[in-house]
Amino acid sequence: MKRIKPTTIFFLLGAVLIFGVTQFLINLGVINSFWNTIIRLAGVMAIVSLGLNLIYGFNGQFSLGQFGFYAIGAYIAADITYRWTVLSSALGLTILLMVALFVGAMIMLIRSAVSKIRGMDTLSAFALYLAAVLGAILVAVRLGRLLDAPVTLSLSLLPENIGLTVVYLLAVLLGGVIAAEVSFLFGLPVLTLGSDYFGIATLGFTIIIKVLLDNTDTMLGFEEMKGARGMIGIPKITTWVWVFVFLFMTIVIIRNLLNSSFGRAIVSVREDEIAATTMGIDVAYYKTITFVIGSLFAGLAGGLYAHVNGFLHPNSFSFIKSFDPLIIVVFGGLGSVTGTVVASFGWALVLEGVLRLALPEGFETWRFVVYPLMLLVMMLLKPNGLFGNYEIPFIRAVIPPLKKKTTSAKTSKEVA
């Protein structure tokens, strides 16, 4: 067992304290259901924004597509739990589980095949992936239908609470995984674009998803999603506990990723693509994998979000909304995990909470005037964001001390 660093202990203590106090206040009723919802939304938004910070802040790819993946995660998770609770069927779960597995396996398979062929252009590779994935989906849906009955039976043997929790967790995870798989397919052709063009392309993605969501009942044939009327009847399972657990995991995973050779490779792409590629960094690969990981978090957060209010509406995922995580990331500080988390909570508490209560009755919508003004002032005073690139000691990369003087005396004299 290796020694645990004091920074880690402080971080864990702090996390437990924040969680404990909040939970205690919720139990006491000091935090009422209004504030409780806001805190949960803030936590969800923190996860989305952390994913975006990975893509934009650390990898340097300006993306407006984060809310598209958030929406995918939300609707997928909602559909699974809705079918389980309202229709008492695990059909959504089995089909989507099969789809996630088959598509994932197919992507891996094609990847290893394509990497052997030298000089395959992006578009033909994309066509190959698309065809293979569509095939995998067809097979997966068939298989999912077959597996529906036994899975429903075995899940209903579990006590009701545990069965629901299992379905819920699987639903959230599947939302994340499928969002990640979609982001891989979408990113393949689009990530070859330069930064601004990539931003516009991802904005297009968000708009497409919004239009699809408006027509889920007619175009896609999912009656239960009710298209532009909004999906209702989703069980409200996401408590502060779940939000906290997922947020905590997200922070730790992102921190571990960034403070590794893998993370440094990601950051080098942001710093200078040409220098990175001539230093042996596969720029295209790191752009793709970062985009996929960022979207995975967006999908997970979407799954959590769907179960906060028990209500999903396509308007929550419009492209105007997709600027929210962007504002949070820039406001908190590009390339700062700490800043993103703080800004997410600040954003939700101030915009939805304090301003709504502080403004006189009838003037609530004025918060959308006050809030941009605050942003303006903030950007003028601190253009690098609230935290710049500051990190709390737990997240910050450690610079290891020099071991010993290994300098050969000759060179140090020469060079000095």
């Binding site: 290796k2 990723l257 050779s261 220098a275 990175a276 590629t277 596969d282 300098t407």
Partner: protein
């Protein structure tokens, strides 16, 4: 050609061309680098030297001809593949990772040899701890060769110019190359720094068993340390040979000083002798 002692060249350009539309930036250039050589590539501005570097390192695809590295045609491969095969470079206008620490700049170049993956990083496995320690020690070793070890926590963009140049060479070496391409390493350095740089280039070539090809405008550097020099003008090779041979070559003098300069220089030398 230059390969008269029978050694197989480590890097060879065969009729290499690179055109930009109608502009022949590089036209049918032949170049041979023998293992452990320290050669120079000179020529007036715009003669295609940096374009050759860009083609060798894969930033540009060759329009024609071959780049043979260790008996393999690497023309048109991705830059990161070429780097992993063993060719590293520095840039004319320094390209560090400006917002990262000096240590991280070097550690990034070592990434292909890191020896652990994303999963190890997320799970913080034993492999991660061990390899990360190795990698860091290795990077610190590279820094100490360039006397930058005390600067390791500094942000790269805050370093003085000379140290940025040294850091860039250190970073290139950390990617474990066999051939090192230096693009104007002495640009912007004062005379004292230039002398130490020349010694340093000699030193690293012997210590890391490198083959070095350098572009340079400062004749002191080129004439002082290069064993063989290739001179380019308008995308073509106009002369090659040892520094003294090249200095006397009339085409070289004309390329640098203009037509008729050979006569003038002879006259000047005669007057000087009298």
């Amino acid at each position: 050609m230059a390969n008269n002692n029978g050694e197989t060249p480590i890097l060879e350009l065969k009729k290499l061309c690179r055109y930009f539309g109608g502009l022949k930036a590089v036209h049918e250039v032949d170049l041979v680098l023998e293992p452990h050589a320290l050669n120079g590539l000179i020529g007036p501005n715009g003669s295609g030297k940096t374009t050759i570097f860009n083609v060798i390192t894969g930033i540009y695809e060759p329009s024609g001809g071959e780049v043979i590295f260790e008996d393999q045609n690497i023309g048109g491969l991705d830059p990161f593949v070429i780097n992993q095969l063993g060719i590293a470079r520095t840039f004319q206008n320094i390209r560090l990772f400006p917002n990262l620490t000096v240590l991280d700049n070097v550690r990034i170049a070592y990434h292909p040899h890191a020896g652990y993956g994303m999963q190890d990083a997320i799970m913080r496995t034993k492999l991660y701890d061990q390899k990360e320690r190795e990698l860091t020690e290795k990077a610190q070793e590279f820094l100490s060769v360039f006397n930058l070890q005390d600067r390791q926590a500094e942000i790269a963009r805050n370093l003085p110019y000379g140290e940025q140049r040294r850091l860039e060479i250190a970073r290139a070496l950390a990617s474990n190359p066999k051939v090192l391409l230096l693009d104007e390493p002495a640009a912007g350095m004062n005379p004292k720094e230039v002398v130490t740089l020349m010694e340093l280039i000699h030193f690293i070539r012997d210590k890391f068993d490198l083959t070095v090809l350098l572009i340079e405008h400062q004749m002191r550097v080129v004439m002082g340390i290069c064993e063989k020099i290739t001179v380019m003008d308008f995308g073509e090779v106009i002369a090659r040979g040892t520094p003294t041979e090249v200095q006397k070559n009339s085409r070289v003098i004309e390329a640098y000083l203009g037509l008729g300069a050979t006569e003038l220089s002879k006259k000047y030398l005669k007057e000087k002798r009298q």
